[in-house]
């Protein structure tokens, strides 16, 4: 009886016990199709959940418009953002110039739309940097634990202790003005947030039973990180990325406001608000409209992030 169990064990992998399986193994192609169908169904369901909420769709539409404006400004703005027309300077918003004109007669709406290219690119770059560094540090300290974890965490505390904006000022003056240096400076400021969120998620997922089961199933740590830990940890990180994209746009505008933005005549949002503030009493739309657009974009991003977080929880 003993030998029978040994052999039964050894070749179960290949033996197709006649009793249970009916017919030859179905073609792999049908399997693939079924799998895609399943995934498609699930995505559609998730998207429907998101779109059912009115606020969220409005926010999604606004962000989409801004993104289009950023990548194809020509579509929205008829005027050349840098063409000065001293004759019709400082006109209030009117049907021709939707946002009015600035002190050199340039069309403010065109400048805001072209400005969105700079702001969104800065936002993407900043979040990219923060995501890369933060994720790396988070996974390292989450998995390494012990002394490495303490060291990384103290490093993160140092970055948090430094006033983010002042740090950005110092970095920008170190590597020069313009959107890319500003994005790098802002990105550095966002790293602690990502590192801490990722570390918390890694610590949470690392102790879950299915990771222990995978470990017992012979998976090496590398494979566990890629297949189990990161896919399950991306939820809160994605929410934070959306939020931080908004704060990156604001920080870039802040630096632009203080005069560290892109080289003239680039219409960066912070610079627009800064140059407009001289005319706050006489031509308030110069400062207030670009600020309003920035706020709406960041608020929409926040709204989407919160809804994303709710549907995941």
């Amino acid at each position: 009886m003993l030998t029978r169990t040994r052999t039964a064990l050894a070749d179960t992998a290949t033996l197709a016990p006649a009793r249970r399986i009916s017919g030859a193994a179905p073609p792999v192609a049908r399997q693939q199709r079924q799998r895609r169908q399943q995934r498609g169904h699930r995505l559609a369901h998730a998207a429907a959940a998101l779109l059912r909420r009115p606020g969220c769709t409005l926010a999604l539409v606004f962000v989409a418009v801004c993104l289009c404006g950023a990548f194809a400004p020509g579509l929205f703005a008829g005027f050349d953002p840098n063409a000065t027309a001293p004759a019709d300077k400082l006109q209030p918003p009117n049907p021709v110039h939707w946002f009015g004109t600035d002190d050199l007669g340039r069309d403010l709406f065109a400048r805001v739309v072209h400005g969105s290219t700079l702001s969104l690119r800065a936002g993407c770059l900043a979040v990219g940097i923060a995501l890369g560094a933060g994720l790396g540090l988070g996974v390292l300290s989450g998995f390494a634990g012990g002394r490495v974890d303490a060291l990384v965490m103290r490093g993160i505390d140092v970055l948090l202790a430094l006033p983010g904006f002042l740090l950005a000022l110092v970095v920008v003056t170190a590597i020069g003005f313009g959107t890319v240096p500003v994005a790098i400076a802002v990105g550095i400021g966002l790293v602690p947030g990502f590192a801490r969120t990722t570390r918390a998620e890694v610590l949470r997922v690392k102790t879950l039973p299915y990771v222990e089961a995978a470990r017992l199933g012979g998976a090496r740590w590398g494979r566990i990180v890629l297949t189990h830990v990161l896919p399950n940890a991306w939820g809160p990180v994605a929410v934070l990325a959306t939020l931080d994209f908004g704060s990156a746009v604001l920080a870039t505008a802040g630096l632009g406001f203080l005069g560290f933005g892109a080289a003239p005549p680039a219409p960066e949002w912070g610079t627009l608000i800064a140059t407009g503030r001289r005319f706050l009493v006489t031509a308030p739309w110069l400062s207030l409209l670009p600020g309003l657009v920035a706020m709406l974009l960041v608020f929409s991003l926040n709204h989407i992030a919160r809804t994303l977080e709710e549907t995941r929880r």
């Binding site: 103290r154 202790a161 406001f257 608000i273 600020g291």
Partner: protein, 316 residues
């Protein structure tokens, strides 16, 4: 308990020293020679001076030591309270800070109080609301708070309250009336953050099983909120207080520029432009110290609020 406190203090000092080193490293990397800057400050280009004159001027401003020696010299002085001489302001950094720190402390202090009161009040009001629809609507309101660019908010408030309504002065340092608008501007993003975190933790704590036990005792909704929900919900918000210190200092840089208030925020911004290393270093070290102290306070306060954390013996 003392071992825990001692450990935390040691870590705090380590973080403070780290902040000092990182700032000095970045500041030292700034291209452009501070002396050239100093000479332009007094209206003459560096290239018009003979080498002897240049060396003489460099010694006058204390820039002749090597970077590393200057690092330890500055560190040694800071430990002794001497923050060095401002390169561009003809005054010891200590005196500059003593002049300006009260302004910023007033501003930051009022802003922190406003943000905590505002944030908690809003979250509390939203939590006690009965109808779920209105509650959902208001739960998103804090997000507006931190979507608004701080400088834009400042300009909007000046336009509204200083020019249109004329209730408050738009700039200046005189008296509490000039403090109101800047403090509100600085407080809005922090208040929004508190409101959001507190709102979410209220929402979570309301669904905890022990709340059902409290209701089963026959308590009113308000009593449950006060005695059970608030304390448990306050814990996540407490850690946020520590983080907000950094934001307050950063915010001060912008708010002091918009409202033309003389404070260490604006001092730091101009010092960065002037590459006035001692001043920037002093401001960063002070704000890092504030961050470290506040966080230490939060760390030590946490066990008092949450008994579970009171260094219970952990099974290794």
């Amino acid at each position: 308990m003392t071992r825990y406190v001692g450990g935390r203090i040691a870590q705090a000092l380590l973080v403070l020293w780290g902040a000092y080193t990182v700032t000095y490293a970045i500041l030292y990397l700034l291209p452009g020679d501070p002396l050239a800057l100093m000479l332009t400050a007094s209206g003459v280009e560096i290239d018009t001076l003979s080498p002897a004159q240049v060396a003489q001027a460099r010694a006058y401003y204390g820039l002749d030591q090597g970077a590393l020696r200057q690092y330890f010299a500055l560190l040694w002085n800071i430990l002794h309270g001497d923050l060095g001489q401002s390169l561009s302001r003809n005054a010891p950094v200590r005196q500059l800070l003593e002049e300006r720190l009260p302004q910023t402390l007033q501003l930051a202090g009022l802003a922190v109080v406003l943000s905590i009161v505002g944030g908690t009040g809003f979250a509390w009001f939203t939590a006690t609301l009965r109808s779920p629809r209105v509650r959902n609507l208001l739960r998103r309101a804090p997000a507006i708070g931190f979507s608004i660019p701080v400088f834009w908010m400042g300009l909007l408030l000046i336009q509204l309250f200083a020019f249109d309504l004329g209730w408050l002065p738009s700039t200046g340092n005189a008296g509490w009336r000039s403090l109101v608008l800047p403090a509100v501007t600085l407080a809005i993003p922090s208040a929004a953050a508190y409101a959001q975190v507190l709102g979410r933790s209220f929402h979570d704590v309301w669904r905890e099983p022990h709340i059902a036990t409290a209701f089963a005792k026959g308590l009113t909704r308000g009593a449950v909120q006060r005695r059970h929900v608030l304390r448990n919900a306050a814990l996540p918000a407490l850690t946020l207080v520590g983080l907000q210190v950094g934001h307050t200092v950063s915010g001060a840089v912008i708010v002091e520029t918009v409202f033309a208030r003389v404070g260490i925020g604006r001092l730091a911004q101009e010092a960065v432009l002037r590459q006035d290393i001692p001043v920037v270093l002093a401001v960063v070290v002070i704000s890092a110290a504030a961050f470290v102290v506040v966080n230490l306070g939060v760390d030590l306060l946490y066990p008092a609020l949450d008994p579970r954390v009171a260094h219970a013996p952990k099974v290794t």
